[in-house]
Subunit: 190 residues, 2 copies
């Protein structure tokens, strides 16, 4: 990206000048690059809980969204829920799809590549033998996830594949999910 040309326009809805300004600012002050993202979750009952997304840390300061976002979670009836919201693993797929897409679009913009449309379909396999402790050889989590992109862009076929790879090469959620993240869990009495 350091060798990309500078564009004075908006590409793929991304303000490319601002993107390069950010890069220059980080080169000058590396601490600007450190972000801390946060949520708070509250259990309601059974499979129902919700998260509030409010503040985060970045560019050496505490920041807030203009209003808190509330994300509901539930389970379908077959998994003993009331089915009023997507379930946690569906949220994980959304996180992956949205991050791959945004990463692809931003990095294409930085290279001056115009994208007209992007859609993706994701499917992941879970075997409840893991969650229910019925088979120790079956993991609790996804056994595999398949992502299929459909991209509309006026580029040769090989560049279409390169565009798709911009997503997986840069996406924080793709990296987190494919390479794993250390997660510490502590608990205290309320």
């Amino acid at each position: 990206m350091a060798t990309a040309k500078r564009f004075s326009t908006v590409i793929n809805g991304v303000m490319v000048d601002d993107l390069f300004t950010t890069i220059d600012a980080i080169k000058a002050t590396p601490a600007i690059a450190k972000f801390k993202f946060r949520i708070r979750n509250q259990w309601e009952s059974g499979s129902r809980n919700h998260s509030t997304v409010d503040n985060f840390y970045g560019a050496t300061q505490e920041l807030s969204h203009p209003k808190p976002f509330v994300l509901e979670a539930d389970e379908p009836a077959i998994l003993l829920g009331k089915d009023i919201a997507a379930n946690p693993v569906e949220y994980l797929l959304h996180a992956l799809a949205s991050c791959l897409t945004t990463s692809m679009v931003y990095h294409a913009a930085a290279r001056g590549i115009h994208i007209a449309e992007v859609e993706s379909s994701l499917e992941g396999d879970i075997d409840l033998h893991g969650f229910l402790e019925l088979d120790k050889n079956v993991r609790q989590g996804f056994q595999g996830i398949r992502v299929n992109f459909k991209i509309k862009a006026d580029v040769p076929d090989e560049q279409l594949q390169e565009i798709a790879k911009l997503g997986s090469a840069h996406s924080p959620v793709f990296d987190s999910l494919t390479n794993g993240v250390p997660v510490s869990v502590t608990a205290q009495r309320m």
Copy 2:
């Protein structure tokens, strides 16, 4: 869980009889345990895209939510978005919190442990040097995630810690995120 007693009541909002009925059904017909979760994502512009959560496969049949759930994604202004929705890595934290909580609550219910309240706070570190290709030694994804639970339950201190561990021991998202998942990405022209 195979050795847990059967309860004829609802515990933690979980229909425990139905949970054990599910377990018995899976023991009799293992294919019931195989689920495929899906989403479809559509890019809007820049950092904005949304996923639709509609159908899934489980218990040997195609199933649908009563209505499709639509999940928006955006980025805050400092990351060049319009900040109309949570961003992908915040959705990932929500997926983790909601899954840990539901897993804890279900498995406590299966053991006859009553929980009154659960809250959690999550924070994860990301260094944009990774996403922006400014330092090859910095990963794109979360460097670490900290989860802190506050649990209200009429149990001794050591059992409070055991309750918290029920979440991380069984959660599909926790397993996916800490141990990694194979993700295949393909792309075709729209």
